[in-house]
Amino acid sequence: MAAKELLPLLDAVSRVLLGKEHQVRLAFSCLLAGGHLLIEDRPGMGKSTLAEALARVFALAFKRVSFTSDLLPADITGLNVFNPAEASFRFQPGPLFTQVLLADEINRASPRTQSALLEAMAAGRVSVDGTSHALPKPFFVIATQNSLDQVGTSPLPEAQLDRFLMRLSLGFPDRASERALLQVGFDPSSDSFPRLGPEALQQLQHRCSSQHCSELLIDYILDLVEVSRQRQPGLSPRASQGLLAAARAWSLLDGRDHVVVDDVQAVVPAVVEHRLDAGCPARHASPHSEALLQAVPALR
């Protein structure tokens, strides 16, 4: 049972991020579904901690890039450097060449740098001066974004948001969790983490894609997509694929061999919201995904 191997890992990461079990679970499903994760929050909410913990439990190579306004595309993809001694160009890989990449404050970078990252995420490879370089596998990007009301940022374009499977917001911890945080503290670099190798992760990812889906469930997803398309902008086919993949991962985390409506409903807010609100999270009105879930009868 997949859940059995995953449970200790989930536990460990949740212990690092107190009171955020749901978000941790979503981040796990995102990783298992082979998608990329966008975390949107204020600074200091534990975004980096989550990314680092995820990399550690699967024993993945981890790199972190702080996106700043003067960061160039070549700074993350790497570039061909001229070596005068050999009189030839040599490719010097950028920080993108890792297994888990934490792209911190992605909205501080220029749109050109952002799109370089997003293209690499989509293709799984980087192309520099006409030569293509494959990225390692698994490749998982956790991008974080400052909340939009902060100045000096350029928000991700609406079309690019579709490339992230999920968008999460960690939010403030509840009082009890924060108390524990203050009293105990934690160190994400401690070696007490249970580990699962990258091969195990790839096996799990494969297993995830073969989770059983009933016709009823596919119909449910199709209904969701159809209802969303009654308004502009609707969900793309990539979004419906992502929704199914995320629901499959969620069902695997739940220890089931088949997907149920609840799995889909659990991942819909994270998978769908950023594709519907065009990058402007509604702070006060009810979220789009909630309206979507309410509009589609789920008794099946």
Binding site: S69, D70, L79, V81, F82, S110, P111, A278, Q294, L299
Partner: protein
């Protein structure tokens, strides 16, 4: 007195937030098919009398019995259904608007159709138990917060022998933006400039500790000394829109609505000034909606 009996059919319904369909709000008459059905049953009755056939007689009576039952069944299809307004999203005047209606039912019901009076019919194949949301299309002629005409719900299920219908005037107004019509608008450009990274414009000598990404390696390969690129952002135009002078305010609103829509889709940054309201230049869906709402209501 005649006026009084005709009243339920002709009086304008009072707006209400929700309507539970019942005996007082549902009307029922035989459909065209129902009349044919009765005629067929009558014909069979005649054949049965002429031939003295019991089977035919019984069939004719079964058809009559079904007609009587169909009246109750068709009425039951709608009875107890609750109609409620949901939150409508804004649309332009003169363009199809969707008015969302929630149907609440304690049990599954067969097909029925709804429409905003005078507009396109929406078929609802099956109403599931619980709540169902439907969007009814209609076209508003005027801007501002508008109430749609009454909503008609109608069914012939399950046998098609009777038509049962109800009428409901929803209470929730829908925001209608001014019609979109291309035309002149007033524009002012506020001064703005910023350094950026989008395009490199110049080269300068490399300083100590410079990132390799800034170095112009191509010129190094051609034997020149190490040089760093200097970048600058392209000027992003910003515009503040206002009603064009010399155009009637209503027409100006329509021109502005069209311009705002197009600017939004080209990704431009724009602001709006109309009457006493000024909206600072920005972009995004929320900004667009705020501008259009100001156009519609101020």
């Amino acid at each position: 007195m005649l006026h009084r009996t005709a009243k339920p059919f002709f009086k304008p319904s009072r707006p209400c937030a929700e309507l539970k369909l019942g005996h007082r709000s549902l009307y029922i008459i035989p459909s065209r098919f129902g009349v044919l059905w009765i005629a067929a049953a009558g014909l069979l009755l005649l054949v049965a009398i002429q031939t003295g056939s019991n089977s035919t007689l019984l069939l004719a009576f079964v058809m009559l019995g079904l007609m009587v039952l169909a009246m109750f069944l068709t009425h039951d299809t709608l009875q107890g259904l609750t109609l409620r307004c949901a939150q409508p999203s804004p649309t332009f005047a003169g363009e199809p608007a969707d008015y969302p209606v929630q149907l609440e039912s304690s049990s599954a019901r067969p097909r029925c159709s709804l429409r905003v009076q005078g507009h396109v019919v929406v078929e609802c194949d099956r109403i599931a138990a619980g709540t169902t949301t439907l969007s009814l299309p209609w076209i508003a002629e005027n801007r501002g917060w508008q109430l749609p005409p009454p909503v008609l719900i109608e069914t012939i299920a399950p046998l098609g022998l009777f038509i049962c219908w109800g009428r409901w005037q929803p209470q929730q107004p829908q925001l209608i933006w001014p019609r979109r019509r291309p035309g002149p608008v007033g524009e002012t450009h506020p001064p703005r400039s910023r350094d950026g990274l989008e395009e490199w414009q110049d080269l300068r000598p490399v300083r100590e500790g410079e990132r390799p990404a800034l170095v112009d390696w191509a010129s190094v390969a051609r034997g020149r000394p190490l040089q760093a690129k200097v970048f600058n952002d392209p000027e992003e135009p910003e515009v503040i829109l206002a009603p064009a002078s010399g155009v009637a305010l209503e027409a100006a609103r329509e021109h502005l609505a069209d311009r705002i829509w197009r600017l939004h889709h080209s990704g431009a940054c724009y602001g709006l000034q109309i009457r006493t309201i000024t909206l600072a230049p920005s972009k995004g869906v929320r900004h667009r909606d705020a501008c259009l709402e100001a156009l519609a209501t101020v």
